[in-house]
Structure formats: C-alpha cells, structure tokens
C-alpha cells in the first residue's frame, strides 16, 4: 500500500517528570513539502522534534514515518536532524569528522573514500568545504550551524528536520539557506523546520504548524491565519513582521 503521508503524529503526549511538554498533538505532513513550526519559547517545539527523530523515546501516542512505526522506520533509515544551537564544548574534532558522523550507520568499521567524498559534497552544499580541516569549536556560531546542516544532509534523508537552523546566520547565509531548502524540496525531500522567523515563514513554507503545548493551528498558508493570531500565540504583537511579507 502506498502511503501519501511522510509523517503522522497521533495523540502525542510527552512529559519531563512533572512537566507536560506536549499534550495530544495530532497532525499529518504530506511528502515533498516544506513545513514550518512556530510557537513561543517553551512551547514544546524542540520536544516534538526530538521525539520524532528518536532522541526522546519515552512518549505516549503514535508516530508514523512514511507509513511505518517510528522505531521500525528509524531502525532502517535515519531522519536528518539539525539540533537547536550548536553549543558544543571545546572538543578536538575536525569539521569533516563531524559531517562523517552522519554516515556512521553506513560505514563498516571505518569510513571509505566514498564517504569522505560525500562529506565534502555536503560541505559544499552549505558553502563550508574550505573549512573541512578546521576544528568545530574554532568556527563561529553560524558556521557551526551550517556544518550541522551538512551533517544532516550527508546521508540523503527523505525527511529533514531542523530546529531553528537559521539562528546565527547572517542575511547572505540565510538567503543561501533558503535556496538550499528550495533545492531540497525540488529533489523530493520533505523538510520540517522550527523557526521564530515569522517573516520568512510566509515566503517559503507550504504550511505552518503552531505548537504551544498542543497543536494550536495547522494552516496551509500563512495568509489563512488571522492577523491577531501571532499576537495571541506569542502574547505580543509580531504583526509587523508578518505584515512586511504580505503580497
């Protein structure tokens, strides 16, 4: 049976001890689209993302990826994942080795020349090929972010999930990043991205999910959202940002 959904989340509840971070979240994402998650700080966006990619294993509800149970899917393939804020402590590891981590499952005892070539290619896609021999902690925050995007891309995942990947990127890199995402989408990849950058949302994403402990809205177009929506969600007006991108 062919499945048209890339990701289905049913009645997802995640707790950290006493704290309920997510409660009864339900949504389905179609293949090959670019989705955005927005929501206030502490709204549970990172929790949602971590649960999908397999970092959090303790949850209630159901997650299906390309029609299969999460664990079954993850056993065979991995979901591309870019974590929030690349704040690694000083660690003596080279950029190329960080990217190679994304190919860890494909290697046999060691990385082949083919793996190295793919890692370099992934670095080229984010414009960081010249930095392959540098240490990860010698890079600036935005550069690190791009290395982590390369690490997520190197395994050619069908689903790519990024947690605030544009934080710390300068405007040129941001434009480059959105070009990259467009290219990925054209190649058939489904992309899910957490962001606070409401302005960009309207321009690039096919649909937007608003998470505040539970799914507040799932709109297929930003213009469907009522003007007062972001103000209500964030508790203050960010209308100007949205407004600026209205056509």
């Amino acid at each position: 049976m062919k499945c048209e959904y890339c990701l289905e989340v049913k009645d997802l509840t995640v707790r950290y001890g006493e704290i309920t971070a997510l409660k009864n979240v339900n949504f389905s994402l179609e293949k090959g689209k670019f989705y955005t998650i927005v929501g206030p700080n502490g709204g549970g966006k990172s929790t949602l993302v971590k649960t999908i990619v397999g970092i959090i294993d303790d949850y209630d509800g159901q997650i299906r990826i390309f029609g299969r149970e999460r664990d079954e899917y993850l056993q065979e393939k991995m979901v591309g994942y870019v974590p929030q804020i690349a704040s690694f402590t000083k660690f003596p590891i080279k950029v190329i080795d960080v990217v190679l981590m994304g190919l860890f499952r494909e290697r046999r005892f060691r990385y082949s020349r083919e793996h190295y070539k793919r890692a370099i290619k992934a670095l080229e896609r984010v414009g960081m090929a010249d930095f392959s021999g540098r240490l990860i902690h010698e890079l600036s925050g935005g550069q690190r972010q791009r290395i982590l995007i390369a690490r997520a891309l190197v395994s050619d995942p069908e689903l790519l999930i990024m947690d605030e990947p544009t934080v710390g990127l300068d405007s040129a890199s941001q434009a480059q990043f959105y070009e990259l995402v467009k290219g990925l989408k054209e190649s058939g990849m489904t992309v899910l991205m957490v962001t606070h950058d409401v302005g960009f949302v309207s321009e690039y994403s096919d649909a937007i999910l608003c998470i505040n402990k539970t799914l507040v809205v799932h709109a297929s177009d930003v213009s469907e959202l009522p003007q007062s929506f972001f103000a209500k969600l964030y508790g203050y007006g960010v209308k100007a940002a949205v407004h600026g991108h209205e056509r």
Binding site: K50, V53, G54, I55, D57, L74, Q75, M78, V79, Y81, P83, F88, F91, P92, I93, K94, D97, V98, M101, F104, R105, F109, L135, R151
Partner: protein, 266 residues
C-alpha cells in the same frame, strides 16, 4: 646506564610497564575527553576495598579486586547515565571504600608490607605470568579501541546524535568502563593505587596539548606513556629511586614541557 635491561627483572618491568602504559593511556584518552579524570583514581581506591575483602576472606586477591572494580565501574557508569556525573559518584565512594579497605585489612591481620605493595606497586617484581595476562588484556583493549573509538568519541561529543543514529552506545560504554576497571586493577600491581591515575590521565593530558584532534591524541598518548616507562625505569635504576614514582614523575615532566611548548609556541 641501560644495564637495568640486561637483567630479566628489568626487561620484564619494561615489557609489563609498556603493556600497561598502552592500555591505560588509550582508555585514558577517552577519560580525559569525557572529563572524568577522577574516575581512574576512584576505581583504584575502590579496588583497595576489594583487596581488603579478599585478604579478610582469604580469597584470591586479583579475582576479588577485579570483580569489585568492574562492578563499581558499572554502577558508576549507570549513575552517570541517570544524570549523576561520574566524578560525583566517585567522590562519594572514594574515601568510604578506602576506609573500608583499611578496616578489613587490619581485621585480616595481614602483614602491612603486603599492603604497601598494593598502595605503591612493585614494577620490578613482575613475573612472566603477569606479562601474559597484561598481553592478553592489552590486545583486548587495543582491538576494542580500534573498533569502537568512534562510538566512544561520538557519544562524548554529541550523545543526542548517537540516539538519532540509533547507535548502540550503552553496551559499548559499559564494556569500556569494565575494560578500564580491569586495566586499572592489573596496573595496580605495577604502580600502586596511589599512582595509577597518573598513568591514565597524564599521557592523554600531554597529548591533548600538542595534538589538535582526538585521532592525534589516541596515537600520541600510548607513545608518550611507553617512552615515560622506558625513561622512568632508567632513571629509577641509575638514581636508586622507586620505579613507579619515577615513571609518574617523568610523565609529569613531559606534561610540563608540552605545556611550555604549547604556551611558547602560541
């Protein structure tokens, strides 16, 4: 100057010392990268309680000590997985186990010179059977590190990503801790409880100052540590000082010089 190695005990000390140096420094590199440098001396002190227990119950010392060390390594590892940092767990058990060891040894009525051997080790008293044991253990450590170094490094660098990769880090981590504990116990015969943590931490600390990457550290630490054993034994023989202490002093000097090179070289 080199004539210590014309005697069998000198050669055995060199062989045993180098085998112990290779395994402790390889495992020690991960200790340093994980910032759990207290762990080595913690396990060593815990095994002192094992020595006490064995002497009290008149059981084979090595067997009991290895068991005690391995079990405590696993317990400490488990605690650290539950959010108690390895060093905190060690800090709690450290002095208690030492006290327990002393109490049990004194209750066993064993001659205190035997106790001194555990505290300070006796590298010049190594036998061929020790060498075979160390060879097997060292080979196991080297193979383990070649196969699983990326697991250990990655889980130190970015544990979350290992979960995304669905990599089986837990068994690797516990195997690592048990190997570390066993290596420590068998090195105690050579260097003693008090000095063993130096063998684990110092070579890796020195190599971290001069090599940029973890790969470089893993290659350099065993070299530094083995050379320190060689130089340390020569110094001990010629100046008539205890061999274990001399080896550790050499390692300390190496650290000091790499530190100097680092700050002078920019």
């Amino acid at each position: 100057m080199w004539d210590i190695f014309t005697y069998e005990f000198g050669l055995l000390a060199l062989l045993g010392g180098i085998l112990s140096a290779i395994m402790t420094s390889l495992l020690g590199t991960v200790v340093v990268l994980r910032r759990m440098s207290f762990f080595g001396s913690g396990i060593a002190h815990l095994s002192f309680a094992g020595v006490g227990l064995a002497l009290l119950l008149k059981l084979p010392v090595n067997l009991i000590t290895v068991t005690v060390a391995a079990v405590s390594a696993v317990v400490l590892g488990y605690l650290s997985r539950k959010g108690v940092h390895e060093d905190i767990g060690v800090g709690v058990l450290f002095s208690t186990s030492m006290a327990l060891g002393i109490v049990m040894i004194s209750a066993s009525g064993v001659d205190s010179s035997r106790v001194m051997a555990y505290l300070f080790g006796d590298i010049l008293a190594i036998t061929w059977s020790d060498i075979w044991l160390l060879t097997i253990l060292c080979a196991a450590v080297v193979i383990f590190m070649i196969v699983f170094k990326d697991h250990l490094i990655y889980m130190t660098f970015d544990e979350d990503f290992m979960k995304v990769l669905r990599a089986k880090t837990t068994p690797v981590y516990y195997t690592y801790l048990v190997l570390l504990a066993v290596s420590i116990v068998f090195s105690i015969n050579l260097l003693g409880i008090i000095l063993i943590s130096a063998m684990i931490v110092l070579p890796a600390a020195s190599s971290s100052l001069v090599s940029r990457t973890y790969q470089g550290m893993l290659k350099l630490s065993p070299v530094i540590s083995s050379l320190s054993v060689l130089v340390g034994l020569i110094v001990a023989w010629n100046f008539d000082v205890p061999a274990g202490a001399s080896i550790v002093l050499v390692q300390g000097v190496v650290f000091f010089f790499t530190f100097l090179i680092k700050i002078l070289g920019g």
